[in-house]
């Protein structure tokens, strides 16, 4: 059941989140990836539009969250630092709480870049590992097919020496074929990182989202997944330091929150970071002056979960979204 507290957070105009894709290009070619990398680096005009929107949205805000996604956001590091620095300073000036976060593969997140991001209050990072080096390097490879594990591990160990607060969620992908590898990785994490409360492990069941092109990865069913997590973590009790997607409760996805918008590298406005090739995700456009042209008839289906407070639909509105044809008819009806 969705709590009133979660509802209030999701429906508050005092909070605003932008999820920005500074580029949809990536330096990785994960074998299960669903993205097509067709849209390149954000133009200066869109960068200016985002900064104008942030500035215009400050009055009345209590909290602004800036979340970076991609592609790999640090392929466009200059865009991240440019907008991130602006948001950091604008929030300071307006006395608005601010948090910056990145979903990054961390290959370009060198200790120096990490420090630059902490300087502008980007303290939350989600970094994915697919297992120990053996599995990780099979599936999370550079575009030139080279493995990436050792570089990421070196970075993770280096972040430990940072004295400032931060939060790194290590998203550990689990499927039928990599359970032993994730168990080995988890043992390394426990020994080297998880004793530092700034690092957390988050298990995620994964399947191959790339269609036929990826290395086959066999999805675990619910019972097998629970059993695998017990085996890997050695505990039945997943707490906030070791959590998993099966422990999500009272969760309203950002895509179902009216106070959260996705800005794509080409200035299109969307809701969901997964449905990037889905026309139902095109709900508006950002203009150069920072104003938004939102098609309310297209954005409302993302809020359908509020009709009956469905935990499943609010947790992932994409699953119950009307088919594209129906959505076009709906948009025309409301136009």
């Amino acid at each position: 059941m969705i709590s009133e507290q979660s509802l209030a957070e999701a429906l508050s105009n005092k909070t605003f989140q932008l999820i920005v894709l500074p580029t949809e290009k990536c330096n990785f070619r994960c074998t299960y990836c669903y993205e097509d990398f067709s849209i390149g680096r954000m133009t200066d005009r869109t960068v200016g539009g985002i900064k104008s929107l942030i500035g215009r949205r400050m009055p009345g805000l209590s909290h602004f969250g800036l979340t970076w996604f991609g592609g790999e956001p640090l392929v466009a590091k200059d865009v991240v630092l440019n907008i991130g620095r602006f948001a950091h300073e604008e929030c300071l000036r307006s006395e608005v709480s601010f948090s910056g976060s990145l979903t990054t593969n961390a290959y370009l997140l060198t200790p120096r870049v990490f420090s630059q991001l902490l300087d502008i209050r980007h303290k939350d990072f989600q970094i994915t590992l697919d297992g120990d080096a053996d599995w990780h390097d099979r599936t999370r490879r550079l575009a030139n097919s080279q493995g990436t594990f050792e570089t990421l591990w070196k970075h993770l160990i280096a972040y430990r020496t940072e004295t400032r607060p931060f939060s790194i969620t290590l998203r550990l992908h689990v499927h039928r074929d990599n359970v032993e590898s994730v168990k080995r990785l988890y043992e390394r994490l426990t020994a080297d990182l998880l004793h530092d409360s700034r690092f957390k492990a988050f298990f995620h069941k994964i399947s191959n989202l790339s269609g036929d092109k990826g290395i086959p990865q066999h999805e675990l069913n619910a019972v097998e997944y629970s059993s695998a997590l017990r085996y890997i973590s050695g505990t039945d009790d997943l707490n906030h330091e070791v959590s998993a997607d099966i422990t999500l409760k009272d969760y309203i996805c950002y895509a179902a929150r009216p106070n959260s918008l996705l800005v794509r590298a080409d200035g299109r406005i969307g809701k969901c970071t997964v449905a990037l090739n889905d026309s139902r995700n095109d709900v508006g456009i950002l203009h150069d002056d920072g104003s938004l042209e939102i098609n309310n008839a297209r954005i409302r289906p993302w809020f359908e979960g509020y009709r009956n407070m469905s935990e499943a639909t609010l947790g992932c509105p994409l699953t119950d979204l009307p088919k594209a044809t129906n959505l076009v008819q709906l948009a025309e009806t409301f136009a």
């Binding site: 709590s3 209030a8 429906l11 906030h240 009272d250 950002y254 106070n259 104003s291 009709r307």
Partner: protein, 81 residues
């Protein structure tokens, strides 16, 4: 707890402010959002927030996936920075 409302009652303007034209929901949000519950930028709390809804700390009654924790009754603006 309200059962729900028609999403057609949500409308967004050109600077991402939205309105919910539903009086019961308006009352609920007014009650919950101010002044009893305000965002709290407690580093310990933020450190405990992940993309789940859990949150550590005795003062915290909730956490979103934007890493915000909330403390009942707090009005110290320093906590919001």
């Amino acid at each position: 707890m309200k059962n729900g409302f028609d999403p057609a009652l949500i409308a967004m303007d050109s600077y991402a402010h939205f309105t919910i034209n539903d009086s019961t929901m308006h009352d609920l949000l007014s009650t919950l959002q101010h002044p009893q519950i305000v965002p709290k930028g407690n580093p310990t709390c933020n450190g405990g927030c992940t993309n789940t809804t859990d949150c550590s700390g005795t003062q915290n009654v909730g956490c979103t996936n934007t890493y915000i924790c909330f403390a009942p009754g707090s009005s110290d603006p320093e906590l919001n920075k």
